[in-house]
Amino acid sequence: MRLKIEKRNESASTLSVLSMSVLSVVVSLVILGFIILSLGKNPIDAYIQLVSWPFGTIAGLTQSLISMTPLLFTSLGLVLAFKMKLWNIGAEGQFYMGAFGATWGALFLFNHISNPWIMLPLIALLGAGVGAGWGTLAGVMKARLGVNEILSTLMLNYVAIYWVNYLVYGPWRDPASYNFPITAEFPKAAILPQYTANGINLGMFLAIAASFFVYYLLKWTRFGFEIDISGDNPKAAEYAGINVKKMIVIVMAVSGALSGLGGMMQMSGVLFRLQPNFSPGYGYTAIIIVLLARLNPFVTVVVAFLFGGLIVGTQQIQLFLQIPFSLVNAFQGLLLFSFVAGEALLHYKLRWLKA
């Protein structure tokens, strides 16, 4: 007996795509179940804890929505880039740079402005702008020099993280913090409107609004059309008169701007001051989210919400079953793995050959 891999002739139907996505989640849950079992805990208990709090209670739901916000911004940035087959792995760094821009504006550049309706747009622009710049850097390197964007964006993440660390440990350290690595708190004007005592803020709604914007961009504008063509077939795009190099730079800029905006929203909406490691890897989780959402901006909202709940729910299972937090990472890895495997199965089939 021998295994042969054959390409499927027909393209995958919506139904099979959907069932593949669901199946990959189920498969990773089953594998995760075995891991939990190996820790001597009951996986069914764990799964009940995992979903009951973040999706079944008001307090938990609020937390899931707050966790969703940074994930959604970074994911939407990636949707645009991935649509053009630009593999931007740098949402994490662009997110950090956005937070850096917002902090720069709120604490140093515009700190004399006391009207939030002037301050907030200014620091949002600055955050998005710095994020865009970070994306552009990789875009220009790709367009001009042919540098692989996977490598450059990934490397730039570290630069961004260390840059923020440098500032927080050095020149931006709050003098009132006994030399602890943390900046001063944002002035009132730089804090997003908070609607409930437990943290529902404007950022969440703007993130959902951003998904409409991305949808509109992709579906209804010439720019979206050009992204599609350039992604599918850059040669054909060139012949059709599209400047693909320019597109690369612009798309990377917009992609970075969205992640950067996410960084700003996280600062102004949730954290109010910059400190090291303020992101638990939102930009990396976003990669898995957009792949599962198959680059659809609206599905991305749903998947980002589920992942937000996953982060909250994992703390829950830790609390009651003392299962380590790193399980979230394991689960995300499993998801990506089974998704990639499922993707391959959509386009190829396996056949046993009798020897």
Binding site: I66, Y169, Q315, Q316, F325
Partner: protein, 352 residues
């Protein structure tokens, strides 16, 4: 009749509430593991569970990332009826303060920060006193006169520890120097080991670690130089070259706090206890420490505990030989808490 029933019901609810165990939770910055900062806090948790038995119920959430996830974890705990929550890292201070505001009936305590609130205390140990004592031992044991110090981040806490250690070293060995390598991480065993190896290569014959893993201690054992640990007793990691450790004994503090919460006498405070409160100590000195040094350490420890002597009593010079603390003076807590300069005898730089 109805009234009687109601009273009975109320009484029932009342007694069951009283009988409910105090729910105590801990948020850890890393995995519990088998040595280091979080391990030490977890020893404290296990200790209080043993002391109070079924009068308390304890849990923990480990490896909680800073920022939004910490806020979310704290909210979960508070919403689930935890009455007393310890967040065991400075990096949770801001999140703790935020959540404390939302749950005024829950008591929060943050370790090694500086913020307090009506329902939030701050606690830490004067580990620099222990560091100083281990410095006395390092100074007495070094032959090359070079001591390697594996340090995490240039925060005031770490700088203070290095300074106290160096003052101790110079007391028993006035010409010895303490060489500092920054790992830029609290927990990164490969980098910690690299740092220790580079110090050994540079001629250090005693390695003092201040980071969270036992990697520097193990590197010392492998290269046959003396080792001094941190956080908990680390003898098992370097059985042949281990001298002692500067240790935290969080259990002693947690016990007091839980008692005061149970009695209703808890008040927010900035607790910064020294050797006299039992929150810090040094691990039992091994036989590699010469007997007369042991005696010296015990005697100095006694002096520190009775406050006859302070680690940062003058004269103290900085790295450039400038007199910072004149003799007859000592550094205030405020100066200690924001320390960002090295004393004479330290070879290394604080990144600015």
């Amino acid at each position: 009749m109805k009234k009687l029933f109601l009273i009975f019901l109320l009484a029932l609810v009342g007694t069951s509430l009283l009988a409910l165990p105090l729910k105590v939770a801990f948020i850890y910055v890393g995995p519990v593991g088998n040595a280091g900062w979080t391990y030490a806090h977890n020893l404290g948790k296990l200790y209080v569970q043993k002391v109070f038995g079924d009068k308390i119920q304890t849990t923990y959430i480990a490896s909680v990332p800073e920022g939004a996830p910490a806020v979310s974890a704290l909210k979960s705990l508070a919403s689930h009826g935890y009455n007393l929550i310890f967040t065991t890292s400075f990096s949770y201070m801001d999140s703790t303060a935020r959540v404390a505001k939302m749950f005024p009936k829950v008591i929060f305590e943050n370790c090694s920060g500086y913020l307090t609130a009506p329902n939030m205390g701050d606690y830490f140990g004067r580990i620099y006193q222990s560091e100083f004592l281990t410095g006395l031992i390092a100074g007495a044991t070094t032959k090359s006169g070079k001591i390697g110090y594996v340090a995490a981040f240039p925060t005031p806490e770490v700088v203070r520890g290095i300074n106290a250690f160096t003052i101790g070293v110079r007391m028993t060995n006035p010409r010895a120097t303490v060489h500092v390598v920054w790992v830029d991480s609290w927990y990164n065993p490969p980098a910690e080991k690299e740092a220790a190896l580079s110090l050994i290569n540079a001629g250090a014959d005693v390695i003092k670690s201040e980071t969270d893993s036992a990697a520097p201690i193990q590197a010392a054992e492998e290269n046959h130089v003396y080792a001094i640990g941190y956080n908990t007793d680390m003898k098992k990691f370097a059985p042949n070259y281990y001298l002692t450790s500067a240790t935290f004994n969080w259990g002693a503090f947690y016990e007091k706090e839980i008692k005061s919460v149970m009695n209703g006498t808890w008040k927010p405070r900035k607790f910064w206890g020294g050797l006299d409160t039992g929150i810090v100590d040094i691990a039992p000195m091994t036989n590699l420490v010469p007997p007369q040094t042991k005696k010296l350490v015990e005697a100095v420890k006694e002096e520190l505990m009775t406050h006859n002597f302070h680690v940062f009593d003058g004269p103290i010079y900085n790295q450039n030989g400038k007199l910072i603390v004149p003799s007859g003076k000592t550094l205030s807590d405020k100066d200690l808490l924001s320390m960002n300069w090295f004393v004479q005898g330290v070879v290394g730089k604080i990144p600015k």
